[in-house]
């Protein structure tokens, strides 16, 4: 059947692609085809564990009842960890204005898929798209094996490993290591009571926790722990550009993290349910392909670099992806009204992004990764804080003041380093 043609083709059934598909199929009445290489939508998605919900308020207000929410995050922790000590900032609030929740991304994406299919989008899985069909400088469809399917406009939502963009010459070949990190994650089953007890949580309350220092062997990156209903997810994210400095394989890092005295007792008696690994764009906007739109195409979600995960600073991913999908749908609708899908009419996507929280956040933290990739933050500072507090709290008959303890604890750091890093951090975060 050579005549298969759609209004819109979406490459990738993740949060970005399915949101775009649902919006177009339901609001614009577009004939939409979503193509997914995994066994089913969501089967290839991996994330840390948390979804910022503000974007759902607008897209699917019914999500509070319907979405596969595990726990609502009400508690945040940041920990500086060494082999034997750890210092934690623990934040709790009873006044949550902008909600976030923990979830299994696979279940969440399946839910988004149901929304998209209910709106009339055709979602086909188990088929990897090989490349885009480009004729006279415009994207007119996709190629998968010997098959070609045509669409007036193609939304590329293929995720961080953007092979379709690369093969089609729309992104530079091979992601550079500076802009991606490797995440490794485990899901460990515990009972609801155990989780509530050990993490001091009430029913349906969740915890989001980032840990720096020892988990990555003091290299730039970080670890995370999220609580689900009856499981916790824990993982490590390591900047790929520092991978070569790592003295053990990354899967050993997660093992060591799990066996660390702080973590060990939290997961005692737990059962490993799931193990996964994935690339993630760390530097957000710096990972973007040269163009986010062009003749006949738009790029959304991770493929566009819309994610901000800087080891210990995590601002969003699924929400960015969904919002960019929504904006792509809006741009397609507007371009449709103008009668064509060229770079000019689709440029509205760029303007919509500029005005959205996606690009505002990403631009605000544009240089954050340059500061946060500073190895001292993950090594010397983590050690210093823990040494400082240990010496300060230990009483052995020698009186100590905070100032002199600080000087003793700073290790390799000079006071100039301290001052300079403090200024850079404040300026960029």
């Amino acid at each position: 059947m050579g005549g298969t043609k759609f209004d819109v083709i979406v490459v990738g059934a993740g949060p970005a692609g399915l949101t775009a598909a649902q919006q177009l199929a339901s609001r614009g009445g577009f004939k939409v085809l979503v193509i997914e290489r995994g066994k089913k939508p969501g089967s290839k998605n991996v994330f840390g564990g948390r979804i910022y919900a503000h974007v759902l308020d607008r897209l699917y207000p019914e999500y509070v009842k319907e979405a596969p929410v595990e726990r609502w995050v009400r508690r945040e922790r940041i920990t500086m960890m060494t082999e034997d000590s750890w210092t934690t900032v623990d934040f709790e609030t009873t006044k949550v204005e902008h909600k976030s929740f923990t979830a299994y991304l696979t279940n969440f994406v399946e839910w988004l898929d149901k929304k998209a299919e209910a709106a009339g989008a055709v979602v086909v899985s188990e088929v990897p798209v090989d490349s885009l069909i480009i004729k006279d400088g415009r994207v007119v469809g996709v190629r998968a094996g010997n098959d070609e399917v045509y669409g007036d406009v193609t939304i590329i939502a293929e995720g961080i490993n953007r092979l379709v963009l690369e093969r089609s010459g729309l992104a530079p070949p091979k992601l550079s290591p500076e802009i991606v990190a490797l995440g490794v994650k485990e899901v460990i089953k515990l009972s609801k009571e155990e989780i509530n007890d050990r993490f001091n949580l009430d029913e349906d309350e969740g915890l989001a926790w980032v840990i720096a220092g020892f988990p990555t062997h003091y290299l730039p990156g970080g670890a995370f722990i999220y609580t689900n209903k009856e499981a916790i997810t824990l993982g490590i994210v390591l900047y790929l550009s520092y991978g070569y400095q790592l003295d053990v394989p990354i899967h050993d890092l997660i093992e060591e993290f799990r066996l660390h005295p702080m973590v060990k007792r939290l997961i005692k008696g737990g059962q490993l349910l799931e193990y996964s690994a994935h690339l993630t764009p760390v530097a957000g906007i710096n990972a973007a392909p040269p163009k986010l739109y062009g003749n006949g195409y738009l790029v959304t979600g991770d493929a566009a670099g819309f994610l901000l995960h800087l080891g210990i600073l995590i601002r969003g991913g699924v929400d960015f992806a969904m919002e960019s999908g929504r904006l792509a749908a809006e741009a397609v609708t507007k371009a449709h009204d103008l009668g064509k899908y060229d770079e000019d009419t689709l440029s509205v996507y760029g303007r919509l992004l500029e005005d959205s929280f996606v690009l505002k956040e990403l631009k605000t933290f544009r240089n954050a990764h340059k500061v946060l990739i500073e190895p001292r933050l993950y090594s010397d500072y983590v050690r210093m804080i823990n040494n400082l507090l240990r010496r300060y709290f230990e009483v052995d008959g020698t009186p100590r003041k905070l100032g002199s303890t600080l000087l003793e604890s700073k290790g390799n750091l000079t006071l100039i380093d301290l001052a300079r890093d403090a200024i850079r951090l404040v300026m960029n975060l």
Partner: protein, 275 residues
Amino acid sequence: MGGLTIIVPVKAAVPNVTAVRLDPVTHNLVREGGVPLMLNPYDRNALEFALKLKDKYGGKVITLSMAPPSGKDFLESTIGMGADEAYLITDRVFAGADTLATSYTVARSIQRLFPNFDLIVFGEETTDSTTAHMPAQVASWLSLPYVYYAVDAEVKLEDRLIVVTRYLEDEGVYETYEYKMPIIISVYKNSNPPRDISLTKKVEAKLNGLVKMVDNNTLKLERECVGLRGSPTIVAKIEDAKPIERKKQIFKGDPREAAKWLLENLTKEGGVIKP
């Protein structure tokens, strides 16, 4: 008449056994985090076997599955591979079936829906229950010859004859048998690697609703013979296999030394004989 009518019964929605766990106490499936479901992988090899015959001799390949409505996705996948039609045999009265009730349902469904079939091609077994009952029982219900471990076949259309090659793994030999069609075939699981799923075929399956649902109002199968009521099997007892105690020795150092060390130890343990 032209070509072959080949029925490929499949098991839709089997749990991915490499990704599930059993509770050590209850022996039930641990369902937290969702149990990943899939099409029984060996059925893809059977479908490939059937599709090759269709490519060579013409005709059509029809897949069929007795499964809950969620099985539809997996049947779409068989159309994506190249099946012409797919039938989901689904009804509450079929629930709780053992292999006997399932084979009855499958055999009678095929008889009623496609009385003029030439071949029924099964996968060797399923990955979740591994009984390999289905093809033998269906052959028995239909009183037809049954050949298993098939890897290849040639057809003489005008005589309605089929020559099936089977592979006997233990003996490492191939045998050929000639039959008058129709017959039942089950396909050796390590043969006929399945082809990729075609985008356009899968789109067609979705757009044109190529998976057809059939319930017992249509089939009118005897209630006593299907589902739980038609299932004499009961699981009397489940015992855990004891894990074998390993010595868990680790040798660190030069790979050459490691190889020597390994060979020495294996020889000592009686695992290998030195040349």
